[in-house]
């Protein structure tokens, strides 16, 4: 059916709400990549078999990931009128026991993580109900307590392959508002007022970027979603696409309207097959409902999205390299200026934003830039999703207001290292980021504070390292990564990183000399200041920060064999 009005949206929402919290028991299995890898598909099949043999009218469905990856497979269940319950580490053999209990209005206690009385999807609230008062509340659970969900507002709660469930929680209402009540300039103004900065890592103000692209003289413009999440240790974007693809799509359509583009491209890495398939499903559904394509909501605005799969080149995360790649060339960066906002894809003005940036847009348009700007800190508004991984107990995806301290994330949310080990450092910002020592974990997570300690925000990877991790080996690991991924276009990056790796390996083999540290620093400065693109400009960060904060480890290796 084609959606033409707000009433159409509301009618669909009413119908779909019945699926989310209706008169039937709902069992939703978390089927994102992490869930599937721990056996969630087998869990789903076990429930399916169980329901068939019971001959009961129970709704079995799939959802994305709520972020508590350590507890996968996660299943959430809703008994009509009662609180939604999150169940953890569900095995196929648990299915029959859980079903038996559910029919009697109960759930085995040992499986429950917490209960949700009400879920705030920001555009809509879903009230589930009371019951299970002996179970701790979602907002009291250590892993969730300090989080604030804007980007992940729907992740793990709705079925990502069902556009109607997205509409039920307020989906596409922001698009309706933008197209029928706002001019493109008003949309840009709202995004500017929100203070939103690019979530891909560089932190450029999104509204300003949109404005520059919109004002560039041209008959054609493009928008691109950067979903080439290449930082090892980072998987926020994968989950955002797998769990709530319509958020991204709606954000892009609104962006297309504001910027004056008719075509959007999602450049997504080939290593994410499930994200690609869910995006394809979502795009087809949006077209079928008339939310993508010609004359959206009966207005004269038309817009469509195509997916281009990346082919495994880290450097393609850089804007100009990505454009070259979409044009069918090797993904090598081009000198800037001209910036893509003036001359981008096929020489036309092009606006590129990260997945997470786009996912914030529907909320900003609906709730207003003013509302958004009050979350986080003054120059760092909103939230950021981080993948908290490595040697940390509660591994998972966490979304916190910007300005939250690293300590809070690593200890209060992540509960520190396992096996009684001490935290030594936290590596932030992917291979271009830095290793922040435990002693500095008091700093707030924002673009400027991270830069001050020699790291970058990056896309959101946060890898915790314990006392048993060698920092020199870690630095060598990152440099071997960036030197391999260097596109080879400019000499400082291509040759400099190779030499840097040689020196690091020499030190690791016990053949280092005291002058090597100075040489590494000098080389780092040269690569930073003279490389063509962000890859080279930031690649020395892991070396510089480990020399700065863990110099004794280098000296120890050099001295031992002196």
């Amino acid at each position: 059916m084609r959606v033409r009005s707000l009433d159409d949206l509301k009618a669909i929402a009413q119908r779909a709400l019945e699926k989310l919290c209706g008169r039937r028991i709902r069992i939703a299995v978390g089927l994102a990549t992490c869930g599937i890898a721990t056996g969630a598909e087998e869990v789903y099949s076990a429930f399916l078999k169980g329901i068939e043999s019971l001959k009961r009218d129970i709704l079995l469905t799939k959802v994305g990931c709520i972020g508590y990856c350590r507890e996968e497979p996660i299943v959430n269940v809703v008994i009509p009128g009662k609180a939604l319950l999150l169940l953890s580490r569900v095995r196929p053999e648990d299915a029959s026991e859980i079903l038996k209990n559910l029919i009697d209005g109960d759930v085995p206690r040992e499986k429950i993580v917490c209960r949700v009385k009400e879920w705030d999807h920001l555009l809509e609230k879903i009230h589930y109900g009371d019951g299970f008062t002996d179970v701790s509340l979602y907002e009291d659970t250590p892993f969730f307590k300090h989080q604030r969900k804007i980007v992940l507002r729907n992740a793990g709660i709705i079925n990502p392959e069902d556009i109607e469930e997205y509409i039920a929680v307020g989906g596409y209402r922001s698009l309706y508002k933008a197209l029928t009540e706002m001019t493109p300039e008003m949309v840009i103004e709202e995004v500017k007022r929100s203070g939103l900065r690019g979530r891909g890592g560089a932190g450029f103000p999104t509204g300003l970027k949109w404005e520059i692209t919109a004002k560039s003289e041209s008959d054609e413009r493009y928008i691109i979603c950067n979903a080439d999440e290449g930082d090892p240790g980072a998987y926020m974007n994968r989950n955002e696409m797998e769990s709530d693809p319509h958020s991204l799509i709606e954000g892009m359509i609104i962006g297309g309207y504001a910027i004056g583009a008719k075509e959007g491209i999602i450049y997504v890495r080939a290593e994410y097959p499930l994200a690609i398939s869910r995006l394809q499903i979502a795009i087809e559904q949006s077209r079928r409902y008339g939310l993508l394509g010609e004359n959206i909501f009966g207005t004269d605005f038309s817009f469509d999205i195509r997916i281009v799969k990346g082919a495994g080149a880290f450097v393609c995360g850089e804007e100009t390299a990505m454009i070259a790649s979409i044009e069918g060339e090797t993904g090598r960066p081009r000198p800037r200026p001209p910036f893509p906002a003036e001359k981008g894809l096929w020489g036309k003005p092009t606006n590129i934003n990260n997945v997470e940036t786009w996912c914030n847009i529907p909320v900003i348009v609906y709730k207003g830039g003013e509302w958004f700007s009050k979350i986080g800190t003054k120059n760092n508004t909103g939230t950021k999703v981080f993948s908290l991984v490595g040697e940390v107990q509660r591994v998972g995806l966490v979304e916190v207001p910007l300005g939250t301290s690293l300590k809070r994330i690593v200890y209060d949310i992540g509960n520190g290292c396992p096996d009684g080990l001490k935290v030594k450092a936290v590596q932030i910002g992917g291979p271009s980021g830095g290793c922040i020592p435990e002693g500095l974990l008091d700093i707030p997570v924002d673009y400027e504070s991270l830069k001050e300690v020699g790291s970058i925000m990056g896309s959101g990877g946060m890898v915790v390292m314990s006392e048993r991790t060698s920092m020199v080996e870690t630095a060598a690991f990152f440099v071997s990564f960036t030197s391999e991924e260097s596109c080879g276009k400019c000499a400082p990056c291509r040759e400099g990183l190779k030499q840097m790796l040689n020196i690091l390996n020499k030190i690791l083999m016990g053949k280092g000399s005291p002058s090597d540290l100075e040489l590494l620093k000098e080389l780092s400065e040269t690569i930073k200041t003279t490389s063509l693109c962000g890859l080279g400009q930031t690649a020395p960060n892991p070396v510089l920060t480990t020399i700065k904060y863990f110099k004794e480890e280098y000296e120890e290796l050099i001295k031992r064999y002196d």
């Binding site: 990549t33 992490c34 599937i36 890898a37 721990t38 990856c69 350590r70 996968e72 999440e229 290449g230 930082d231 090892p232 240790g233 980072a234 998987y235 974007n237 994968r238 075509e263 491209i265 450049y267 080939a270 290593e271 994410y272 097959p273 195509r306 281009v308 799969k309 990346g310 082919a311 495994g312 080149a313 880290f314 790649s325 979409i326 044009e327 069918g328 060339e329 090797t330 993904g331 894809l345 096929w346 993948s387 991984v389 490595g390 040697e391 591994v395 998972g396 590596q427 992917g430 291979p431 990877g461 890898v463 390292m465 991790t469 690991f477 990152f478 990564f481 991924e485 596109c487």
Partner: protein
């Protein structure tokens, strides 16, 4: 170039009318079908898309996703992302190379396994992670590998 193959390529090309993203998409889809990009295929695509063969070769060798050699029946990819690295992925690769008696990037003589490494699957919460064909497996350890390989028809010895 035999006709059957030409037809497959023509069909793939016909799906991508717009030039936006066409080269990558055609090569990707062909590789998904054939397992690798042969010299004849690249030559044929070059004439059909009117892109110099040297440019296509440049693209096919720049991106790590493309293979110019036929791969084994099962492709085992070890994730070398930061989280996997911290949790012992290098040891996993070492053990896998020992068991299959081939190095990373190579295929066993009987054509049943190819070993590869990847930058990051984004399944960091279950590090270390490996992928066999399209399926991802978490919490892998060198000790678990032999039993695991047997699932895919590997025989010790």
């Amino acid at each position: 170039m035999d006709e059957g193959k030409a037809k497959i390529i023509d069909e793939i090309i016909s799906k991508y009318a717009s030039r936006t993203g066409r080269v990558l998409s055609v090569l990707e889809e062909l590789q998904e079908k054939e397992g690798y990009l042969s010299k004849e295929s690249l030559k044929y695509i070059s004439t059909r898309l009117n892109v110099p063969l040297s440019d296509l070769y440049s693209v096919a060798t720049f991106y790590s996703f493309f293979n110019l050699k036929r791969a084994g029946k099962n492709i085992i990819t070890i994730c070398m992302g930061t989280a996997c690295y911290v949790k012992g992925a290098p040891k996993l690769l070492e053990e896998l190379e020992k068991l299959l008696k081939v190095k990373e990037g190579e295929t066993t003589p009987d054509g049943s396994f190819t070993i590869r490494s990847a930058r990051c699957f984004g399944a960091c919460s279950m590090a270390p992670v490996i992928r066999v064909n399209d399926r991802t497996y978490g919490f892998m350890s060198p000790e678990r590998l032999p039993a695991f390989l047997k699932l895919y028809g590997w025989k010790q010895g």
